[in-house]
C-alpha cells in the first residue's frame, strides 16, 4: 500500500512541551495533501488529461529521450512531502510506540499503540499494566477503526445546524453563570463512567461552582448491582475485585467473567493461567458455571448447569444452605451439595461470583459465601468506591426531567436517549429540559435530539488519565491531533466551569505535577508517559466483614417464577451500542452463535419447539405492555424458557455501517429488569428475517478435529491426543524436501487455554489490513478473516459442551495449495512459510479448493471500493492491501518477521531471540493460547510445547505436515458429579 508514502510527509509538532503529531489536521487542509491523495490513488487516464500533468508530460519528454521518455510519461507523478522541521525520535517509515489507556464503561485497559508516521494503526496491550499484562480485548483492537470513522461527528451542531466551538464558548460563558444558573439547582449532568482523577477534579470544580447541580453516572451495562450488593453486605460502597489466578475452584452464577461481564482481559489471563497444564501430573483449576445464556464462560466450564437467570438466586441460596450458611433449602439443585463439598475442600483458594445482571441481595449472599470460605483477602478483595459530590441516580434524573425540574442537561460521552431504561420514557422527556448539551463521538440519538451537539475527541486523540478498579492510574496520551476538532469531557467541563486549565494536556499534567515534588515532576511525568502508568498509584485493598444479619434479613425466598424470561446482555460486538458503526466488530462473529451483523433472540431447541419457531423466525416479545421484535436463533445449551438478547443493536441515528443493524431491545428493558425480565410473552410475528452466521455447521461429525479428554482420562492415557486417529505409514514418491536449516517457523495453539474471545481475529484484521465485506457477502460465505475461531458443540443437543479452535493458515510443509497453483503465486520459503505473492496471483481459486483447512480467502469483489481518505489511514503500511481478484491468507505475520530480521542484521547480524517475534494474534491473546517461534531451536518455547503429549496435528492423516499444531483440551470435572 503506497500509504508508506505518507512517511515522508510527517507534519510538524505542536508547540507544547510534549511534541506529537498533528499530521492530518495539518495536511488535510493543504492543497498538497489533496494533490498527494490524488497521486496516491491515481485515477488512471485522468492523470494524463489534466492540463497540469500534460505540462509534466512535456517536461518529462524533455528530460528523458526516445522511447524511454515516452514510456516513462505513463508513470503517475508521485509527490514526496518532507517535514519542514524535524521531530525528535521520529524517523520517516519507522513506527513509534506510545503508551496510553482505553476506558470502556469504567473498565480501563493500558495500551501500547503503534503509530506509522503519525497515524495510529495498531493497538497492543501494555505489559506493565495490571489490567492488560500485554493483552487487549477485541474492543481495544477495533477501537482504532472508530478513530478514522468518517461518520464521526465533525462539527459543533446547534439545533442540528452547523456551528462552532467559538459560538458554543460564547454561549457557555453566557449561560454557565451564577446569574443564569444560580446555585445550579436546574443543572444536571449525565456522564458515562470515566474513572479519571484529573477529570474528577474538574468535575468537582464545576460541582463546587454550582453546589446544587446534580451529577449522574449512566452506563447501560454497569456494575451498579454489584456495588449495591456490597453496600448491602458491608454497609459501604465498595468495588469487588477477583483474583482468578489464585482461585483453584470457581463457581460462577450467571457471570460471563471471561466474556462481556468483564470487558477487560485480566480475568481471561488469570483464569487461563489457572488452566495451564504441561504434563498430566499437573493440577488445574475447576470451573462450575450456572447460567441461563450459553456464554463463552459456560463453554470453558467443567460443569455447566442450565438455570434461568430468574432462578439463579435460588441456586445461590441452595449453595449457601449446602454450606450451612442458611436454613436448608427446598429447591431442586442436586449438584449443590457436591459443589459445596468441593468448595469446602478449597478454602481460601476458591471463588464464588455472580453476574452484574443479578440483583444486589444475590451479590450480598455471594459475599457471605466467599467470606465463609475464607476467600476474602485471597481471591476476593475490595477497594472503596467514591461517589461524586451531589451524585444522583438516573432514576432521580428521569423523575426531575419528567417534572420539568431540569433546565440545563449536559450529557457527556453517553447515549441515554437510546439506552435509557424504558420505564423512564427518557427520550420523550429529554426535550423538556430547556438546554441540552451533548458531547459525543457521534451525533447519535441523544446528540441529534440535543440543543447543542459537541464533537468529542476519540481516546487516541485525547490527553487524560484513567484509573483501573484497583486504583492504578495510567496517563492517556494522544497518538494524533483531533481529526475533527473534538474535545475531551474534561475540556468541556473545564470550559463550562472556568477551570484554571482549559486544555486537556494542561489539565492532566498540572493535576499530577502539582502532586509531585517540583524537582521530581518532570522525570516522573516522562516516566508515567513511558510506562503507561503512574508509580505509587493503586488503592488500598480492604477486607471488610460481611454483616450477615443484614444480608439474611434482606433475603426473601423466591418462588420459582413461571413463564418465559428475557435476559439482556452486552453484545461482544457493539457492547451497549457504542461500537455499532465499527465494521470490524460488526463483522466479528459472536463467539457462541457465530452470528455477524445482527443480534437475535437466543433460545433452546426445546423452547423453540414449544413456541413453534425456528431460527430466522421473527418473534414479538412483550413485557409489561412494552414490546419489541427480534429474530429467533436456536442455540443449543440455552436454558429452556429463557431468551437471551444482546443489547446495542437497532441503532437508528448512527453512521452508515451501524444504522438499523440488528434489533433494538432497549424498549423492553426497564430499570427493574436491567438484567432480566420474567414472564415475558413471546409469539411468532409471522415474518422471517435473514440471520447470517459465519459457521453453518456446528457438529464435528465425529472427526477428531478438536481433541479433548477429562483430566482423569488424560492421566490414564497420557498420549490420547496423538492416538485419536490412525495415521498409516506414509511413503513419498519423491525425495522429501528437508527443512533443517536456519529458522523454521511454527505455531502451537493451546485449546485448553483459548476461551474464544475474538481478540485474535480483530488483532489479525488490524495488523493485516483485512477488509470487511458486509452482511450480504458474509451470507455468501465470502468473509475475509485470515484467522477464524471455529466453535463446535459436542454431546447432547439440549445441554452440549462447546469447544473453540482458532484456525489460520497451517503453513503445511507439503502444502496442497502450492502444488496446484499454475503461476507459482504461492510457494514455500526456506523457513517453512507458505508464502502468498498477491502480485503474482491470477485468482484461479484452485489453492483454496485444495486447502483441507479452508483458510484461504479470495477477493471476490473490490472490498476497498469507495473508502474515504480517513479510512485509508488505518492501513498498516507494512502489509500490501490486496486488490480484487487475488487470493490471500495468514502469513504468520511475515512483515513482523522481516522487521525483526532486518533489525537483527543491522545490529551486527545477531541471531533472532526466541519470543522476539510475536504474531499479532499471539501478542494480543489474553489467554496466552498461541505460541509462535522457531521449531528448529529445541530450546524455543514453541518447540518445547510441541513436545508435550497433548500436542497433535489436525488432519494429520493427510500428511500435509502443518506447522501449526494444537494442544488438546482438558476438562476437569468433579468426580462426584460424573
Amino acid at each position: 500500500m503506497s500509504l508508506v508514502q505518507i512517511s515522508d510527509s510527517t507534519p510538524k509538532p505542536l508547540e507544547t512541551g510534549r511534541r506529537y503529531w498533528r499530521s492530518l489536521e495539518e495536511l488535510a487542509g493543504t492543497p498538497q495533501f489533496r494533490r498527494w491523495v490524488e497521486r496516491e490513488f491515481p485515477r488512471g487516464a485522468s492523470e494524463l488529461l489534466s492540463s497540469s500533468s500534460r505540462r509534466t508530460l512535456l517536461k518529462l519528454m524533455a528530460a528523458s529521450f526516445g522511447l524511454a521518455g515516452l514510456v516513462a510519461c505513463r508513470r503517475p507523478q508521485e509527490k514526496i512531502l518532507p517535514l519542514s522541521k524535524g521531530v525528535e525520535h521520529y524517523i520517516p517509515g519507522k513506527p513509534l510506540y506510545y503508551a496510553t489507556a482505553m476506558n470502556l464503561a469504567g473498565s480501563v485497559t493500558g495500551l501500547v499503540v503503534e503509530a506509522h508516521d503519525g497515524r495510529p494503526t495498531k493497538i497492543e496491550g501494555n505489559p506493565r499494566h495490571p489490567e492488560s499484562l500485554g493483552a487487549c480485548s477485541a474492543f481495544a483492537q477495533a477501537s482504532v477503526l472508530s478513530l478514522y470513522d468518517p461518520d464521526r461527528s465533525r462539527v459543533v451542531l446547534r439545533q442540528g445546524r452547523p456551528s462552532s466551538w467559538e459560538e458554543f464558548a460564547r454561549f457557555a460563558a453566557d449561560h454557565f453563570r451564577a446569574e443564569v444558573l444560580g446555585r445550579g439547582s436546574g443543572l444536571w449532568l449525565v456522564a458515562g463512567s470515566q474513572p479519571s482523577p484529573s477529570y474528577e477534579a474538574v468535575r468537582n470544580h464545576l460541582l463546587g461552582r454550582f453546589p446544587e447541580a446534580r451529577w449522574v453516572e449512566f452506563e447501560p451495562i454497569s456494575r451498579e448491582a454489584m456495588r449495591r450488593g456490597a453496600e448491602l453486605a458491608f454497609d459501604r460502597r465498595l468495588e469487588t475485585l477477583y483474583d482468578f489466578g489464585k482461585a483453584r475452584l470457581i463457581v460462577a452464577f450467571d457471570a460471563d467473567f471471561l466474556g462481556v461481564d468483564s470487558p477487560g482481559v485480566r480475568a481471561i489471563r488469570e483464569f487461563s493461567r489457572g488452566r495451564a497444564v504441561v504434563s498430566e501430573t499437573d493440577s488445574m483449576s475447576r470451573l462450575y458455571v450456572a447460567e441461563s445464556r450459553f456464554s463463552i464462560t459456560g463453554a470453558m466450564a467443567d460443569h455447566r448447569f442450565r438455570i434461568r437467570s430468574s432462578e439463579m438466586a435460588n441456586a445461590v441460596e441452595a449453595l449457601a444452605s449446602a454450606l450451612g450458611l442458611m436454613p436448608a433449602h427446598s429447591g431442586n439443585f442436586p449438584w449443590a451439595a457436591a459443589v459445596a463439598r468441593d468448595l469446602a475442600a478449597h478454602r481460601g483458594a476458591s471463588l464464588v461470583l455472580a453476574g452484574p445482571g443479578q440483583p444486589p441481595e444475590v451479590h450480598a449472599l455471594v459475599h457471605l459465601i466467599n467470606e465463609a470460605l475464607g476467600n476474602f483477602g485471597h481471591t476476593v478483595s475490595f477497594v472503596a468506591a467514591e461517589r461524586a459530590p451531589g451524585e444522583a441516580s438516573f432514576e432521580e434524573l428521569a423523575a426531575a426531567l419528567a417534572s420539568g425540574r431540569v433546565q440545563t442537561l449536559v450529557v457527556l460521552d453517553s447515549n441515554p436517549v437510546f439506552a435509557a431504561p424504558a420505564d423512564f420514557d427518557f427520550a420523550a422527556n429529554f426535550s423538556r429540559a430547556a438546554t441540552t448539551i451533548h458531547l459525543g463521538l457521534e451525533a447519535d440519538e441523544t446528540g441529534s435530539a440535543a440543543t447543542w451537539h459537541l464533537p468529542q475527541a476519540h481516546y487516541l486523540e485525547s490527553w487524560g488519565d484513567l484509573r483501573t478498579l484497583d486504583g492504578t492510574v495510567s496517563i492517556q496520551q494522544p497518538l494524533i491531533y483531533p481529526l475533527y476538532d473534538g474535545r475531551t469531557p474534561a475540556e468541556l467541563l473545564a470550559l463550562l466551569s472556568g477551570y484554571k486549565d482549559q486544555r486537556a494536556y494542561d489539565i492532566v499534567r498540572n493535576y499530577w505535577t502539582a502532586r509531585w515534588p517540583a524537582q521530581e515532576a518532570e522525570r516522573r511525568w516522562r516516566r508515567a508517559l513511558h510506562d503507561g502508568l503512574i508509580e505509587g498509584t493503586g488503592a488500598a485493598r480492604l477486607v471488610p466483614a460481611v454483616d450477615r444479619r443484614r444480608v439474611l434479613a434482606a433475603w426473601r425466598p423466591r418462588p420459582a417464577a413461571g413463564g418465559i424470561e428475557l435476559v439482556f446482555y452486552a453484545s461482544p460486538s457493539v457492547w451497549d451500542g457504542r461500537f455499532a458503526n465499527n465494521g470490524w466488530l460488526q463483522e466479528a462473529p459472536e463467539p457462541m452463535t457465530k452470528l455477524t451483523w445482527d443480534n437475535a433472540a437466543l433460545i433452546s431447541p426445546a423452547t423453540a419447539k414449544k413456541l413453534g419457531v425456528t431460527s430466522g423466525d421473527v418473534v414479538l416479545i412483550e413485557h409489561e405492555g412494552r414490546s419489541a421484535e427480534a429474530p429467533v436463533w436456536i442455540l443449543p445449551g440455552q436454558t429452556d424458557d429463557s431468551i437471551a438478547v444482546a443489547l446495542g443493536y437497532g441503532r437508528t441515528v448512527c453512521g452508515r455501517v451501524g444504522r438499523r443493524v440488528g434489533h433494538n431491545v432497549y424498549p423492553l428493558r426497564t430499570s427493574r429488569t436491567a438484567g432480566f425480565a420474567v414472564g415475558v410473552n413471546v409469539r411468532p410475528a409471522g415474518r422471517r428475517y435473514r440471520l447470517v452466521s459465519a459457521q453453518d455447521h456446528h457438529a464435528m461429525e465425529g472427526r477428531p478435529l478438536v481433541r479433548e479428554a477429562t483430566l482423569r482420562y488424560w492421566r490414564e492415557h497420557p498420549d490420547f491426543a496423538q492416538h485419536a486417529v490412525h495415521v498409516p505409514e506414509l511413503k513419498s514418491l519423491y525425495p522429501e524436501h528437508q527443512y533443517t536449516e536456519g529458522y523454521q517457523w511454527g505455531m502451537a495453539i493451546d485449546l485448553n487455554r483459548c476461551v474464544g474471545c475474538n481478540a485474535c481475529i480483530l488483532a489479525c484484521q488490524a495488523e493485516n489490513n483485512i477488509p470487511i465485506v458486509g452482511k450480504r457477502e458474509v451470507a455468501r460465505g465470502r468473509e475475509m478473516h485470515w484467522l477464524r475461531v471455529d466453535r463446535y458443540f459436542t454431546g447432547d443437543e439440549e445441554a452440549p459442551e462447546a469447544v473453540f479452535q482458532p484456525v489460520a493458515c497451517m503453513h503445511c510443509e507439503k502444502a496442497p495449495c502450492e502444488n496446484v497453483c499454475p503461476v507459482v503465486a504461492t510457494v514455500h520459503s526456506p523457513e517453512g512459510l507458505n508464502e502468498m505473492a498477491y502480485n503474482r496471483c491470477v485468482g484461479t481459486r484452485y489453492c483454496s479448493n485444495n486447502c483441507p483447512y479452508k483458510v484461504r480467502r479470495f477477493n471476490f469483489l473490490d472490498w476497498h471500493k469507495g473508502l474515504e481518505e480517513s479510512q485509508k489511514l488505518v492501513f498498516n503500511p507494512d502489509v500490501t492491501v490486496r486488490m480484487r481478484g487475488v487470493m490471500e491468507k495468514c502469513t504468520f505475520c511475515v512483515q513482523r518477521i522481516e522487521e525483526k530480521r532486518i533489525q537483527a542484521k543491522a545490529e551486527g547480524r545477531r541471531p533472532l531471540r526466541d519470543g522476539e517475534i510475536l504474531t499479532a494474534c499471539q501478542q494480543t491473546c489474553p489467554a496466552e493460547a498461541i505460541v509462535f517461534g522457531n521449531i528448529n531451536d529445541p530450546a524455543s518455547r514453541v518447540a518445547l510445547i510441541k513436545k508435550q503429549n497433548r500436542n497433535y496435528v489436525m488432519l494429520e492423516e493427510l500428511n500435509v505436515r502443518p506447522r501449526t499444531s494444537y494442544l488438546a483440551r482438558i476438562r476437569n470435572p468433579n468426580p462426584e458429579l460424573v
Binding site: E818, V824, H828
Partner: protein
C-alpha cells in the same frame, strides 16, 4: 501466345481410369497426372507413386516436441528459478508427462499438415489443368487422366487416339497460357 500442355482424357468410373493408367504406363509414358474426386485405391500403384514419407516427418517432429517440453519444464523449474512448491522436487518425470505428451502431439500435427501441403506443392491456386472448363467436374464425378506434352513419347495425334481406345468418354488437347 500459348503452348500445348498435354492431352486430357475423362472417365466416369475409377476402375476405368486405373485400367487406362496401367495401359498408358505399360506403353512407357511417364509424365502423367491422374485426378479423381476421391482417393482411388490402386491408382497410386498404377502410377507407381512412392510411399509418402509423412510418417517419418511426424516422428521427427514428435521427438522435437518431447525434447522441447522436457527441457522447458526442467530448465524453468530446476535451473532458472527453483522454487519449493509443496515440498516437491524441482523437477520430476511423472508430473512432466502430460505437457510433454501434448507438445509432442502438437508439433507432430503441425509437421504433418505442413509437410503434406509442401509435398503436394500446395497452396498452388493456378494450374494448367484449371484452364480446362470441364476439369471442374473432377471434384464431382469425373476421373481425369492427363498426359503431358512434355512426355518424350507424347504425340499430338497418337496419344489422344490411344486414350480414346482405352475407353475415355472424352479426350481434349489442353493449351497452357504462357
Amino acid at each position: 501466345m500459348s503452348k500445348l500442355y498435354g492431352v486430357l482424357a475423362e472417365f466416369d468410373s475409377p476402375e476405368e481410369l486405373v485400367e487406362a493408367v496401367r495401359a498408358v504406363r505399360a506403353r512407357g509414358f511417364t509424365r502423367l497426372e491422374a485426378c479423381t474426386p476421391f482417393p482411388v485405391h490402386g491408382l497410386d500403384e498404377a502410377l507407381g507413386l512412392a510411399r509418402s514419407p509423412l510418417g517419418w516427418i511426424a516422428l521427427a517432429a514428435a521427438a522435437v516436441g518431447v525434447a522441447a517440453a522436457l527441457l522447458l519444464q526442467w530448465w524453468t523449474g530446476a535451473v532458472d528459478y527453483p522454487l519449493v512448491v509443496g515440498g516437491k522436487p524441482f523437477f520430476a518425470l511423472w508430473p512432466s508427462v502430460p505437457v510433454t505428451f501434448e507438445l509432442a502431439v502438437l508439433l507432430a500435427s503441425f509437421a504433418v499438415v505442413i509437410g503434406m501441403l509442401a509435398l503436394n506443392g500446395l497452396p498452388r491456386l493456378y494450374h494448367p489443368l484449371f484452364e480446362d472448363d470441364n476439369f471442374r467436374r473432377v471434384t464431382d464425378d469425373r476421373f481425369v487422366l492427363a498426359v503431358e506434352a512434355a512426355d518424350p513419347l507424347f504425340h499430338a495425334n497418337e496419344t489422344p487416339a490411344l486414350l480414346v481406345r482405352l475407353g475415355a468418354l472424352e479426350v481434349r488437347l489442353l493449351e497452357e497460357k504462357a
